[in-house]
């Protein structure tokens, strides 16, 4: 297949998969097989795109005329390649996990669940490969809408309330802030195509105007969960755990920081921003989010809520790094998209496994659970170490680059934030590991073992990948460096 056909396939395979899933709804085994086959096919398509991109090619595909002068267009560049690889690869593992989770918990509406999941992946691929802001925006909104049925999956009052916050914040920010920002970009730059060096350089905007436009973008991209538009993420935790794991730790939130990175690198241009000091406020906002979200996580007793706030904090690492405007930081930001994804999905998988076996949702209930579920809590420990940034886990790699980037930029407050948040990460993750392995289980509690094998296999696989990434970092590092122009 040609590269353009591969791009089309990457968009159509999950979409067609959703259609087949809906048809296969009455036969669960067939339905789950369709999910796995679609996930494997998608990953194959994305992997096949990687060699030309690494070799410096930029495969592209242009289809319909969305507006005069703006096509529905796709162009694969290193950052999008990295994002697509992570999301599509983890979809396979997550599907395996979902099969165990959904069956063991006797969840209703499983066909709708798998179909919406496939559509969410199609939207994610659209975001990753988008060649211009309008295409990105189209798939960004689609991702919000197709994940809404997943967030409100249980259909009870709690789900309804969570769904309202989710939709209200994500649609609200994108319509009220992001859309005017895109239209203003079109009005001033005359193009929306992503281009290295940015498209706003010659638009003749003053520093404050550029800063205002940047603010519209970074707060308009609500999926990046910068405070104060982060509230949708904890609200989304009412969803079944596989949704929280792949979508609200990987696809949706990474789509947010991915879009922020794209905007800073390819719409504004690092040099244009640095020249007029239009983004000097952004490190402060991102740094505040890193610290504040960590402190909230520290006090959260609900495990998924703690993980959600940890995600808010980790996402702002990416924004913080990107806002430092030095190549090393940009590479760190790109790499952290992959590193955080592996670690955080492992943590969510573990949380879901614990819930499936014991029904426990609170951190304070986890005493001794590691003795009964050693694989699960072992994987949890690996994920936690990765997020803290302890070698040899994947998180170390990106955090190391982040420290180097902040030093290279001479941005001392960023270094302080990174250091302090590392301590906070340790403070909210390590007690869980400690309690799970070193405390005795509550007396009189019935014994239990591990979760169903598909779930254990999935979380072991992601934990192994977390540990392996630093030793097989050639491809992600190459993509991250190419993104930063290193």
């Amino acid at each position: 297949m040609s590269a353009a056909q591969l791009i089309a396939a990457a968009l159509l395979v999950p979409a067609a998969g959703a259609g087949l899933l809906a048809l296969a709804g009455r036969r669960p085994n067939l339905r789950e097989a369709v999910t796995l086959v679609a996930a494997a096919l998608l990953f194959a398509c994305v992997v096949a795109l990687a060699p030309p991109v690494l070799a410096g090619a930029r495969p592209q595909l242009f289809a319909l005329e969305l507006l005069p002068g703006i096509a529905l267009g796709f162009r694969v560049e290193p950052l999008g390649m990295l994002f697509a690889l992570v999301a599509s690869g983890l979809w396979i593992v997550n599907s395996l996990y979902s099969i165990g989770y959904m069956r063991a918990n006797g969840e209703p509406h499983q066909t709708r669940f798998y179909a919406c999941f496939a559509l969410a992946l199609a939207a994610t691929m659209g975001i990753a490969f988008a060649a211009n802001l309008l295409t990105l925006f189209l798939f960004y909104e689609m991702l919000t809408l197709v994940t809404w049925p997943l967030v409100t999956h249980h259909g009870d009052d709690e789900a309804r309330a969570g769904g309202r916050v989710y939709l209200g914040l994500l649609l609200g920010t994108s319509i009220v802030l992001l859309l005017p920002a895109i239209i203003a970009t079109w009005a001033y730059a005359g193009t929306l195509e992503f281009a290295p060096g940015g498209i706003l350089r010659d638009a003749g905007l003053s520093g404050p105007a550029l800063g205002g436009l940047l603010a519209l973008y970074v707060f308009g991209i609500g999926k990046a969960a910068l405070m104060p538009v982060h509230r949708w993420l904890p609200a989304a935790m009412v969803a079944p755990t596989p949704v929280s794991a792949l979508l609200h730790a990987v696809a949706v939130v990474k789509a947010g920081v991915f879009a922020v990175l794209k905007v800073i690198l390819y719409v504004f241009g690092v040099e244009a921003l640095a020249g007029v000091r239009a983004s000097d406020w952004l490190p402060a906002v991102a740094g505040f989010t890193v610290i504040a979200a960590s402190i909230v996580a520290l006090h959260a007793d609900n495990l998924k809520r703690r993980l959600a706030y940890s995600t808010v904090s980790q996402l702002s690492y990416v924004v913080l790094s990107a806002s430092l405007l030095v190549p090393l930081s940009a590479a760190a930001a790109a790499l952290h998209i992959a590193a955080h994804a592996l670690g955080k999905i492992t943590l969510f998988f573990a949380a879901g496994a614990i819930y499936t076996v014991t029904g426990k949702t609170e951190v304070s209930q986890l005493d001794g659970v590691g003795r009964r579920m050693p694989w699960t809590m072992g994987a949890f420990a690996v994920g936690a170490l990765s997020l803290i940034g302890i070698p040899p886990a994947a998180g170390f790699l990106s955090k190391w680059l982040m420290f180097q980037g902040a030093a290279a930029a001479g941005h001392w407050p960023a270094l302080v934030v990174l250091g302090a948040s590392t301590l906070l990460n340790a403070a909210y993750f390590l007690p869980i590991v400690h309690a799970a392995f070193l405390r005795a289980p509550p007396a009189g509690e019935p014994g239990h073992g591990e979760a169903p094998w598909t779930m254990v296999a999935a979380l072991t696989a992601t934990a192994a990948a977390t540990l392996a990434l630093p030793f097989a970092a050639a491809v992600p590092l190459a993509l991250a460096r190419a993104t930063a122009g290193l």
């Binding site: 529905l72 309008l134 005017p180």
Partner: protein, 493 residues
């Protein structure tokens, strides 16, 4: 040979079909004739649109009397665009009416429905195609009288009252229009619109011309339901038969907007209306009031059909907002939204017609769990609802894009903010349906027999597909609207 008479056939075929149907009286034949006529009208409109796109405006002298003495039919970029909308919606609504009208009307009156449907179609197409101010009045009356009766055919007794309200206000509107035309005739001595436009600059600023502008503005505003002259609309839409609501909501107010555009920019001229008079400011203020109040009122309706009716008032506000901007992008937004909102509301009211067939009415208590009972209808409403909000990938987004672009290019940031902020109210009222249909279990009032018949679903879904298609490929809509906007502003198309 026959092609050359296409502009006349566009109107006369539906006009002649009406008495034919009354003579036959048999409901199946009536339906067949009405469907064939509306498909013919659609084909004719598409042919005319390609002719205009290829070779510029088409002028047709009725009865071979050359203008300005005879009546001229004139098809240019703007009227071709509106013709395609009106006849296209008619071509979709006619097949839908087969099952819907049979269920909602007594058997012995079905043929009347189709006769009036053809008359109404002829009137709307005639208003769009004619280049003569008095001929326009005649077609306005034809379409209005037909629509009063069509609304009164609704099965609820309140339909009579709604039709009566519309009759009173519609007649006042038409009278105001004809008074305005009379004044213009007095001053210019011509009824041909192009001729009038050529003679008016010399008379600009004289009191009768200003009075004519005022009369025509108020008269047409009543017809297009500009806030606060919209009071007839919610009841008329809510109590009319489903097919009528869908047809009128998608076409009637849109043709009235067309007349407003035609008179403001084609007859009086932008120099007078925009340059010397505060019409843009007045339109902007009324449009904003329409958008905000009607959207908020829509939010609190207990019935989906009424909710959509109030949403129509708000959406008309977006169209007139674009008119009030009076810039290239503003007018593009107005014309493209005329089309996009037409197909969106058409789709929604057709789907609601399916619910009405199964549940009697579309009160929210009957929509609980509808996603399980009528999955295709519910999904269609959600998709068309997204177009109503203006989510990218749907037709409504394109309109919003140009409205905001127009506001930003005029550096009216507050207006851009207002447009995007008010679309959040649309999110809220569309989501009321989504939560009722998908997050509530089917209740006692939810219709039991299940999905709407295919004869209704297929036409409705055609319009839903159009909402998506015209959001992804805008080569027809935006190009058409853009050349219409340039034409109105006096540039080369």
């Amino acid at each position: 040979m026959i092609l050359e008479h296409l502009p006349a056939l566009q109107v006369t075929v539906p006009l002649a079909a009406a008495p034919l149907i009354v003579l036959v009286r048999q409901s199946t034949v009536a339906w067949g004739v009405a469907t064939a006529v509306s498909w013919f009208a659609f084909a004719a409109a598409l042919l005319l649109a390609t002719q205009v796109a290829g070779g510029g405006p088409v002028s047709y002298a009725l009865g071979s009397w050359p203008p300005p003495w005879g009546i001229e039919y004139r098809v240019d970029a703007l009227s071709a665009f509106v013709l395609v909308l009106v006849s296209g919606v008619a071509a979709v609504v006619a097949p839908f009416a087969w099952r819907s009208v049979a269920a909602e009307l007594p058997r012995d009156r079905v043929y009347l429905f189709y006769a009036l449907y053809c008359l109404c179609l002829a009137g709307l197409l005639g208003m769009t195609i004619t280049g003569d101010a008095f001929n326009l009045f005649v077609f306005m009356e034809i379409s209005s009288l037909a629509s009063y009766v069509l609304i009164a055919l609704g099965r609820h007794r309140r339909a009579l009252l709604a039709a009566y309200q519309y009759l009173i206000l519609g007649t006042i509107g038409a009278t105001f229009y004809v008074i305005g035309v009379g004044l213009l005739y007095l001053m210019t001595g011509t009824l041909n619109l192009a001729d009038m436009a050529a003679r008016l600059p010399a008379l600009a600023g004289t009191r009768p011309v200003l009075a004519a502008l005022a009369f025509i503005t108020v008269g047409v505003s009543l017809k297009l339901a500009l806030f606060p002259l919209h009071l007839w609309l919610p009841n008329a839409y809510a109590y009319a038969p489903s097919a009528v609501t869908a047809f009128l909501a998608a076409t009637a107010t849109k043709v009235s907007v067309y007349i407003l555009l035609r008179f403001y920019f084609g007859v009086f001229g932008a120099r007078l209306v925009v340059g010397e008079l505060p019409m843009p400011e007045i339109l902007l203020a009324l449009s904003i009031l329409a958008i905000v109040t009607a959207s908020l009122v829509a939010l609190w309706q207990a019935d989906l059909k009424r909710l959509l009716a109030y949403s129509s008032v708000a959406q008309i506000g977006y169209i007139t907002l674009g008119v009030g901007m009076a810039s290239r992008d503003g007018l593009t937004a107005a014309v493209v939204h005329l089309f996009n909102h037409g197909i969106t509301k058409g789709a929604l009211f057709l789907l609601v017609g399916g619910i009405a067939l199964r549940a009697g009415r579309a009160g929210f208590e009957r929509l609980q769990g509808l996603g399980q009972v009528m999955p295709l209808t519910s999904l269609g409403i959600v998709l068309a609802g997204l177009s109503l909000i203006g989510v990218p990938g749907t037709a409504g987004f394109i309109s919003k894009w140009y409205l905001v672009l127009g506001a930003i290019e005029a550096e009216r940031w507050w207006l851009a903010a207002l447009v995007v902020a008010t679309s959040l109210i649309a999110v809220a009222y569309v989501w009321r349906f989504v939560e009722a249909a998908y997050l509530a279990p089917p209740g006692a009032a939810t219709p039991q027999p299940g999905e709407a018949p295919r004869a209704m679903l297929v036409p409705a879904w055609l319009l839903v597909a159009a909402c998506i298609w015209f959001g992804l490929d805008t080569s027809f809509t935006v190009r058409g609207a853009r050349s219409a906007a340039l034409l109105l502003l006096g540039g080369a198309p």
